[in-house]
């Protein structure tokens, strides 16, 4: 089955860092699905044609989940002035040397999936510019304006990639 997984990640207690939570919930509303509250990641409800979850961080144990999808769209905030405020790109599996952090990047997660399963979903990133990362809930006005366009972008991405007939790809080079 041609399944897609949307993974929003961030910290809803650090203002715009939690923008993906708002985007995922906007998407779920459009898909007629129940809103994720802060105590529900959505990981317990997987099994639809399009699944969506919101996580505080990406973690290695997600690789078993990823291996069952044709495509995964990561949703996060960004702070790069050089990127479009609403940024969309493909994410190839890519490993990088460890620095200090326990955090796992989308590219690394795909590379891990490739390395351990020999296949991985096509990866995409939809990212919204964040302006305020202070303690507190709610979004800055400029990030809030990007929530609905980001949800539309994800829907368009799903439609386009489905039309292309994207399938779960086999990794030829396990290093990604």
């Amino acid at each position: 089955m041609d399944r897609s997984l949307i993974i929003g990640f961030g910290n809803i207690d650090r203002a715009d860092d939690g923008v993906a939570w708002h985007i995922v919930n906007s998407l779920r509303r459009r898909l007629g699905e129940k809103r994720l509250d802060e105590d529900n990641t959505g990981l317990e409800e997987l099994g639809s044609h399009v699944d969506s979850v919101f996580l505080t961080q990406l973690a290695p144990e997600l690789i078993d989940t990823l291996a069952g999808y044709c495509r995964v769209i990561f949703v996060d905030a960004h702070i790069d002035e050089g990127m479009d405020d609403l940024y969309c790109s493909s994410v190839p599996p890519e490993s990088a040397p460890p620095v200090l952090s326990h955090h796992v990047t989308p590219a690394m997660l795909l590379a891990l999936t490739c390395a351990l399963h020999g296949r991985a979903p096509a990866g995409y990133l939809v990212s919204v510019r964040g302006y305020d990362f202070d303690f507190g809930r709610g979004l800055s006005a400029r990030s809030r304006e990007l929530v609905e366009p980001a949800a539309c972008k994800i829907l368009q991405l799903l439609e386009d990639s489905s039309r292309k007939g994207e399938t779960l790809s086999t990794c030829t080079d396990k290093s990604g």
């Binding site: 990640f9 702070i79 990127m83 460890p98």
Partner: protein, 474 residues
Amino acid sequence: MGKKITIEPVTRIEGHGRVTIHLNDQGVVEQTFFHVDEFRGLERFCEGRPYHEMTQITQRICGICPVSHHLASAKACDAIDRVEPPRPAKLLRELLHMGQMVQSHGMHFFYLAGPDLLLGFDADPAIRNVVGIIKANPELALKAVNLRRYGQQIIERLGGKRVHPNFSVPGGVNTPLSQKDHREIAAELKTMTAVAVEAIGIIKGWLDANRHLAAGFASFPSNYMGLVNKEGCLELYDGDIRIKDSGGNLLAQFRPDNYLAYVAEHVEPWSFLKYPFYRKLGWPGGFYRVGPLGRLNVVDRIGTPMADEEFKYYKSINGGRPVEGSLFYHYARMIELLYCLERIGELLDDPDILSNDVRAYPSARLPGGGVGVIEAPRGTLFHDYSVDENGQLTRVNLIVATGNNNWAMNVAAGMVAKAYVNGNKLTEGMLNRVEAAIRCYDPCLSCATHAIGQMPLDIRLIAADGTLLDRLTR
């Protein structure tokens, strides 16, 4: 003309750090600074809020060790409420803590330390990573993933969520352990213990094969701090704080709520993170190390059979004196991993673990205050709250584990920079060694944001007049 190399920032989700290496005219390292630039405003943010919200608020400091903040906060709230949680609640809190320790220690060893140790400090960065480890040993990598998952699932079973659990409350915990969860945690314990034993074999083999490097790499005398129980054994959830000097002599042992009589904090203008030290020895002579190496250097023994056997070898490394080399943190971390898995077995075997008596109801006397101290994966973590007559927080003081190791990381980075960095010909391997010195301490520089683009690695070689001479990024 002097030069300056800057590595920035060196973390991602946990915060923002920089390493600045100052060179002299000959390109030789003169001084190194490990800066933490992010202002940790959480303490001020919490003031005015009801204290009983703190178990949920403070764990959101970090997505990496939220359980530690959750539990330290719960203990501080117990103290404010002057309530002693029932024994089953303490056992369940400790079980939650063990889940956190297992996932964190496992993640660090296999994902962060492993690539350097198993593939080499100078290996091509394209392969010196966890995927490189998978290629080299896919079976081991799968075990590492499962070990982390096991720890996370303990947290999820008890706390309802993998990252920010809703479990501990002032006076205990809000849910007893179900028979089903007990059975499922127990079912995988033997397998996970075998992974810990394998990891110990790997790090011991590496240390043996690289004896000279391990002995000299960021090796320096310091004081050490950690919690101990009444028998002087390793304690991660409760107990007294013990401080020993570089010779292994006892400097102090005290109840955590007396910490201000023993611990003070030094401030440097170039870092937002403070530098705690043992008050009686003053600054900088009183700086100490915490975390796995600090803990194993203060305990008399571990307290579980297999980890105690391993501890005998650990103690022999420096003839019974404290072990000083930063790379031995990795070994100490794996001994602790083994301890945590053995301790999970002990907790599951305790008949009280399935009791429904998991909460005592408090009667706070306000205004007041409370201190909660716990051993987080990275070291001793202090939560200290004062509240007014309405139960609103008037003062919050947090000393995080990484703060306790702040000066030690500075020293470690400086020693390695002096030993390996040649300012006239900067290589990725040199940079990686400086990072590896800091990585031994598994720092968490604070605070749970992780926007895309936040974390390029940027090394700059700058002349004294500000001219950019060289730059490495990744």
